[in-house]
């Protein structure tokens, strides 16, 4: 790119110098011509009514400064015959090529023009002089023409010098650009080297000295690596926790199954086998929650948001959990009456809602009611989804901890994976919604999810 630009620049400057060369050559040799013409004009005089011309040698010496050029001249009466010189020189015409007029101090104007003569292009000057003697006025015209060899040579010379200069300029610029690029890229190469030499698990910040210009890049890389380290950490913790959460119930299962095998008493064995089933249920729900979470994490990265009817979504989930709830003696009631729209991922929102509802149902007493409501006002942004139960609630000091993965309240006698609320919170955050816990009256838990961008249809 830069080389292209350089070439274009060079072409332009060469063209410009060429133009300048033509102009310079024309001006300087026109001056010689004018000088000679003026000297010739000076040498014309009137003597006893006769025109006398003593051509000055200096005029021809001036013209001979273009040593290889031929010269033609004519001195004639403006309206009459030739006095001396060449007959049949071309006339200057208005608008003939290269025509231009110049005035000299106290002299009539001189006209330059180009015309072919004697088989070559010739540059002419024409000027007039009025001769005055007692009772006599004569106007004479001087025309001098010179061939163009010296002019062309000067143009060629100037152009050649310009070409040399331009070539030098290009060469220097190329070297500068090349070394500039090399110097500029050197810190990047060092950075690349430092990165490639690293072990894949080393995510500590890079310590490479770089010029100011490259520093933002280094900062971004380090920032990215720090994030990667955090994520990796969290993943490690989760894996550890998950292993623990699965291993513990498995160990319980095994010991209870062994106990049941050895138990002679049928009633007791029955009791133990029931516990085995319970344990299996818990394990299965833990595993499915973990899988859910993995699925959600994947969706968060890949799925785009759609426009969703939140009320329909809520009713659907309520229906799904209602039968199982009734089986446990708990009623699920949907109290909303508005059509509400939110931006979101339907699957994820359902998962969140299901976790919250199942949680509410699980902790509800026999005959309890889980109320689901959507609060929204037409014309204003913001939708609140509220799920209230009549269970034991969560003490204020534990309300942050319950969102942590695998957290189990020490006072909580019920089995659970410890993932349900954590997933719910993750989905809410992903939807830019605010999930809060509150107290129900007289007792119970209220889960409120505030979609700040939701609206009534």
């Amino acid at each position: 790119m830069s080389v292209c630009l350089l070439l274009v620049l060079a072409a332009i400057s060469y063209w410009a110098t060429n133009l300048y060369g033509h102009r310079a050559a024309r001006l300087s040799y026109d001056r010689l011509l004018a000088g000679a013409a003026l000297q010739v004009a000076e040498s014309i005089g009137l003597q006893d009514g006769e025109v006398v011309i003593d051509l000055p040698r200096a005029a021809f010496e001036t013209l001979a400064l273009a040593p290889e050029d031929r010269v033609f001249y004519a001195i004639e009466f403006v309206d009459g015959p030739l006095i001396t010189g060449y007959s049949g020189l071309p006339e200057s015409a208005e608008g003939s090529p290269g025509s231009r007029e110049t005035g000299f101090d106290g002299q009539p104007p001189a006209r330059f023009f180009d015309a072919p003569y004697s088989g070559e292009m010739v540059r002419f000057i024409a000027l007039e002089r009025v001769l005055k003697d007692v009772g006599l006025t004569q106007a004479v015209r001087v025309r001098i023409g010179q061939t163009l060899r010296a002019r062309d040579a000067l143009v060629a010379d100037i152009s050649w010098r310009a070409l040399q200069f331009v070539a030098l300029f290009i060469a220097i610029a190329l070297v500068l650009i090349m070394s500039g690029i090399w110097m500029l890229l050197r810190p990047l190469r060092n950075l690349n080297l430092a990165l490639s030499r690293r072990s894949p698990v080393d995510l500590s910040p890079l310590e490479v000295s770089v010029p100011q210009e490259v520093e933002p890049l280094l900062r971004t890389i380090n920032h990215f690596m720090a994030q990667l380290a955090t994520t990796l950490d969290r993943l490690k913790r989760f894996t550890g926790e998950a292993a623990h959460q699965i291993r513990t119930p498995l160990a319980g299962l095994k010991s209870q199954a062994q106990n049941a095998l050895e138990e002679q008493d049928a009633t007791l064995r029955q009791e133990q086998l029931k516990r085995v089933v319970e344990c299996s249920d818990l394990l299965s729900s833990t595993v499915s929650q973990m899988l859910n979470q993995a699925t959600l994490a994947h969706r968060f990265q890949s799925e785009m948001f759609d426009e969703l009817r939140l009320d329909e979504l809520v009713i659907e989930v309520c229906r799904e959990v209602a039968v199982a709830a009734l089986h446990d003696g708990v009623e699920v009631a949907y109290l909303g009456d508005r059509e509400v729209i939110v931006q979101g991922d339907g699957f994820a929102l359902k998962q969140m809602l299901r976790n919250i509802l199942e949680n509410a149902i699980k902790y509800s007493p026999q005959g309890g009611i889980v109320e689901v409501n959507i609060e929204a006002r037409p014309g204003t942004a913001g939708v609140k989804l509220r799920v209230s139960d009549q269970g034991p609630g969560i003490p204020v000091e534990e309300r942050e901890q319950v969102f942590e993965q695998f957290y189990r309240s020490p006072n909580n006698p019920r089995a659970g994976s410890g993932l349900g609320l954590a997933i719910a919170r993750e989905v809410a955050v992903h939807h830019h919604a605010h999930l809060t816990l509150g107290d129900n009256t007289p007792k119970g838990l209220v889960v409120e999810i505030h979609f700040s961008r939701g609206r009534v249809r």
Binding site: R70, T84, Y86, S118
Partner: protein, 374 residues
Amino acid sequence: MRFRWLPLGWALVIGILPAQTFGEDFHQLPALTTQRSQLRIYGAADYPAIAPLLQSFQRTHPGVAIEYTEFNTRVLYRKFLDSQGQGPDLMLSSAMDLQIKLVNDGYAQPHRSAETEALPRWANWRNEIFGFTYEPAVIAINSGFLVDERLPRSRSELLSLIRRKGGQVRGRIGTFDIEKVGVGYLTWAHDRQQSGSYGRMLEAFGTHQARRFPSSASMLKALATGEIVIAYNLLGSYARAWAKQYPVISIIMPEDYTALVMRTAFIPRKARNTRDAGAFLDFLLSREGQRLLAEEADLYPIMDGFVDDEKTASAASGADIPPQLDDAHVASLRTLDRSRLQPIPLGLSLLIHTDQAKRRLILDEWEAAMKSTE
């Protein structure tokens, strides 16, 4: 004054066959073998002077038949202009101004060769016209007319000599008829430009009724016989040839300045045999051609280094150059003294000598000066 008939030698031939007296002189040299081509040369040099060169050229180009036509320089110029299309293949002349005029007017074609490249810059214009010999314009004096007097060394000394002698030199000063002799006009016009003594010279010539001669030969003959005692602006080679035979003739190269006139050659644009013309031109400028010009034709070659070493050495050792022209200083003239010798440069400024108005002016001045004493 003693007069002695010369044996018919080289020097005499040059003198006795003055081209200027004849309008035209035609010479033919048939090809040595079967004729392949014909070379037509127009020249102002006398045939005997140029003949050895033509013959030598034919020895290396035996198939070339040569026609050499000899003219007075002004006639040559006219003849060339009239001969369009039927003109010569090569033009040789000592009237530099007329030759330059023809070249300037586009009648010549360029010719380049190793020989032309070797020429000094002042002997080549546009690669179209080339100087091949040069010639000092000298003053010759019949020393028999001086009594225990030193020869004048410059124009002003010449003028004071004329003043001193007064009536003795009346009608006994000779110079070219500038109206008829091209080279005479050229040297006189050059004097008018160069010399501060031109006005006094013109006046002296007028008051002493200078005689006008149509050729070098007639002037030298008159000088040898004592008919005239001063010959002004003679061509050096002729004067030297006569001085060899007539020791009474002394040749002076004026110290104020001595103009050098070149013989020039060009190939006309409409030449029919350009190839042989170029070859002969190169031969003229070649070592052999220049040697022949110096030794056989007694002309001054334009290139250095054709005289034998002894002459050059003795000439170069003479730091003080005598005003007289003698044999020892002939060929190496130009290498000896650069300040006094002034080559009339082969170039544009010669054009001024061909100007009609200028010519009229000079001739009028001349006529006026001559009339003033009648």
